[in-house]
């Protein structure tokens, strides 16, 4: 799970600390936990640690405030000197939220994800997983690696065709030929789930493991794919495990496990991934570029938005 940091709760950040927390990092989600619960947990832990840090004393500033005094000729205005704290340093004021932008940019890149899917031949269930209601039991002793690989090659071929069809480019143009001959023709907008690569990692009937690289997929689609592989092999199959091993540029090695959900590890993870994220999005580390695909307005409006978000925005109470 890729997490970006957005703190709109009570937190106090200094500018250098804020800089180290601007970015993306990956977190390992244990099975059976809802992703929202995990995100809230990470956020709460991080905020607790940040609040326990030494708080800077708010700076004082000299302000000339207008005041009204009763004089002979009615109400007179004059200026009085007062010493006030700088509201920008107030604990409840600061809000940051620029990491979401990077996440949106990354999403618009439509990068592939890799999964390890484990299945089991011999049963067919209602929701294609091993915990659903049983529909049928079948034999599976005829399934060999050669037959499974043949079916998998066919699936890959069908999806290669879908890659070209959903790319959104006119297939009669020279551009389509140039991209297809280099293998770069891919959908850059919303499309049905497409499998870009699939191979069998392990087969010992009834259990088998597949490594699937796909775009725009859902878990239900992967389970259904396992079911359909079973049908093509004149048997049936259910999906027992689905594990994401890569999400765009973040792999399992980059993901932080539960014991490392603390400030230092998160800062280190953001630092490590910064170069990869920047290289993918084609931007420099100090600001955000306008590469958000065709949906983002470029030009004057885009530049205005960027200049406004260059620093922490003071927010009133």
């Amino acid at each position: 799970m890729v997490v970006c940091f957005q703190a709109d709760r009570m937190v106090r950040l200094t500018w250098p600390l804020f800089q180290t927390l601007r970015g993306l990092f990956a977190v390992y989600k244990p099975p059976g936990v809802h992703w929202k619960r995990l995100r809230d947990t990470v956020e709460t832990k991080l905020l607790k640690e940040l609040n326990s840090l030494e708080q800077r004393v708010p700076r004082q500033q000299i302000r000339f405030l207008p005041s009204f005094t009763e004089g002979e000729n009615g109400v007179e205005t004059s200026l009085t000197v007062a010493q006030l704290p700088v509201l920008a340093d107030h604990p409840r004021v600061l809000g940051v939220g620029n990491g979401n932008q990077q996440l949106v940019c990354l999403h618009n890149r439509h990068l592939t994800k890799e999964y390890t899917v484990q299945g089991s031949f011999g049963t067919a269930t209602e929701d294609f997983s091993d915990t659903g209601r049983l529909i049928e039991r079948t034999t599976y002793d005829h399934i060999t690696l050669e037959r499974l690989e043949r079916i998998i090659a066919v699936i890959q071929g069908i999806h290669q065709r879908a890659l070209l069809t959903y790319s959104g480019i006119d297939l009669k143009s020279q551009e389509a030929y140039e991209l297809a001959s280099r293998g770069l023709l891919r959908p850059m907008h919303k499309s049905p789930p497409i499998i870009t690569a699939i191979r069998c990692v392990h087969l010992s009937p009834p259990k088998f493991t597949l490594a699937i690289q796909c775009l725009h997929e859902t878990q239900q689609y992967l389970r259904k794919m396992v079911h359909e592989i079973g049908l093509e092999l004149k048997s049936s199959a259910v999906c027992t495990h689905v594990r994401r091993t890569r999400d765009g540029i973040f792999t399992v090695e980059d993901a932080l496990v539960r014991t490392r959900w603390d400030l230092q590890s998160i800062q280190a993870a953001i630092q490590d991934s910064r170069s990869k994220v920047n290289a993918t999005l084609g931007e420099d580390s100090s600001g955000y570029s306008a590469i958000l695909g065709e949906d983002m307005p470029t030009g004057v409006k885009g530049q205005e938005r960027r200049s406004r978000r260059s620093g922490p925005r003071p927010v009133g109470d």
């Binding site: 034999t139 069908i158 143009s173 020279q174 001959s181």
Partner: protein, 379 residues
């Protein structure tokens, strides 16, 4: 029963409940019991067997212009109340059910010939346009003196064989309005239009071609195609004088195919080279080429993860190309005349495109506006 289940008991029953969030732990205990009960019930379910001996069956797929009956699917040409509506072209491959295993197929202009290597009386089937008797004589039921002009279903072609139960048909080949059959014992048979002597017999002015199926004796050179690979190099046959085509950089040539205004060759590494005029398969900008141009292997499914993929058969129709890879995939490109490419649409295809067939393609026959694919089932 759910209320009696305590939280600790649920935890000890195990983590088999994948996919359920911690919030629903109250009902998880009951679901766990249900799962255990289901597993016991599942073991009592009967086991079905769908797999037989595992012999891979041959299948025939057809697509293209359907109105002449060349596809052998009468439901596409004749209106039948309550059934599917007739249509002009079959844009996607459709299976043609036949009892015999077809070993050789050929497509002409509006007709198809299918041959099997059986020793039965019926060895060859023909369907489609039959105005010049290019698929044999099929006597009409209404008028016994005439034959059908359009044959809508695969019909047996009667052959004047001396020993019909010992002879096998090895290959069939079709031209615009004539066809040739090669047998193993009894030579070559020809049928159809003979206006230019293409059937190998004497030209007769204003002959009625509908009634003749004859045997011809031809020498082996005349039987071959126009371009002949000789020792890996190319000889072009122009007016009976073979001419050597000095191509460099194409490697050892293994197969060659020619169409109306173009030609293609396949070398030992599995690379396809095309030249000529028309849609050659390298984008819309390349419409003619005097020298062979290679089509990149990535367009046939080659990639770093699948380096073993290569083309091993190439065929040409009048305005289109077809290539079969060693993985059993069929790629087509060229002019999509009346849906002959089988890609599901009527647009022309400027670079190789996979045809979706639910079987491994072994061979393909290209005609002017239709195609026939000989395939084997997956398992």
């Amino acid at each position: 029963m759910a209320a009696l289940m305590s939280f600790s008991r649920w935890r000890s029953l195990g983590m088999a409940l994948t996919g359920r969030s911690l919030r629903s732990c109250g009902s998880a205990g009951w679901q766990c019991l249900q799962a255990r009960g289901l597993r016991q019930a599942n073991d009592r379910e009967p086991i079905s067997r769908y797999m037989g001996k595992g012999r891979r069956r041959s299948r025939l797929f057809v697509w293209g212009f359907a109105q002449t009956g060349a596809l052998g699917l009468p439901q596409l040409s004749l209106p039948r109340a309550g059934r599917e509506r007739p249509r002009q072209s079959q844009l996607k491959p459709r299976q043609l059910e036949l009892d015999e295993r077809i070993s050789s197929a050929a497509c002409g202009y509006g007709f198809t010939l299918l041959a099997s290597q059986t020793c039965d009386i019926t060895k060859v089937w023909g369907m489609g346009l039959n105005k010049d008797s290019q698929i044999g004589f099929h006597r009409s039921r209404r008028d016994r003196t005439k034959g059908y002009e359009f044959v809508l279903e695969p019909s047996p072609v009667p052959l004047p064989l001396e020993k019909p139960q010992e002879t096998r048909v090895v290959q069939v080949s079709c031209g615009r309005a004539h066809s040739l059959l090669l047998t193993d014992n009894e030579g070559v048979f020809s049928m159809g239009n003979n206006a230019y002597g293409q059937c190998g017999r004497r030209i007769v002015d204003s002959e009625i071609y509908r009634l003749y199926v004859g045997r011809i004796t031809v020498s082996s050179e005349q039987r071959r195609a126009r371009f002949i690979p000789v020792d890996g190099e190319l000889m072009a046959k122009q007016v009976n004088v073979p001419k050597h085509l000095p191509f460099t950089g194409v490697g050892k040539i293994m197969q060659v195919a020619c169409g109306g205004t173009h030609a293609a060759i396949l070398n030992r590494e599995g690379n396809v080279f095309v030249w000529g005029y028309g849609i050659l398969g390298k984008g819309c900008n390349l419409s003619e080429s005097k020298v062979p141009e290679m089509i990149l292997p990535t367009l046939f499914g080659w990639s770093e993860f699948t380096p073993q993929v290569q083309v091993n058969r190439i065929r040409c129709g009048l305005n289109n190309f077809a290539a079969i890879t060693n993985c059993g995939e069929l790629f087509v490109w060229g002019k999509n005349l009346r849906g002959c490419l089988g890609i599901g649409r009527m647009d022309d295809q400027y670079f190789p495109w996979r045809v979706a067939i639910a079987a491994d393609v072994v061979d393909v026959a290209c005609g002017v506006d239709h195609m026939v694919a000989l395939t084997r089932s997956f398992i």
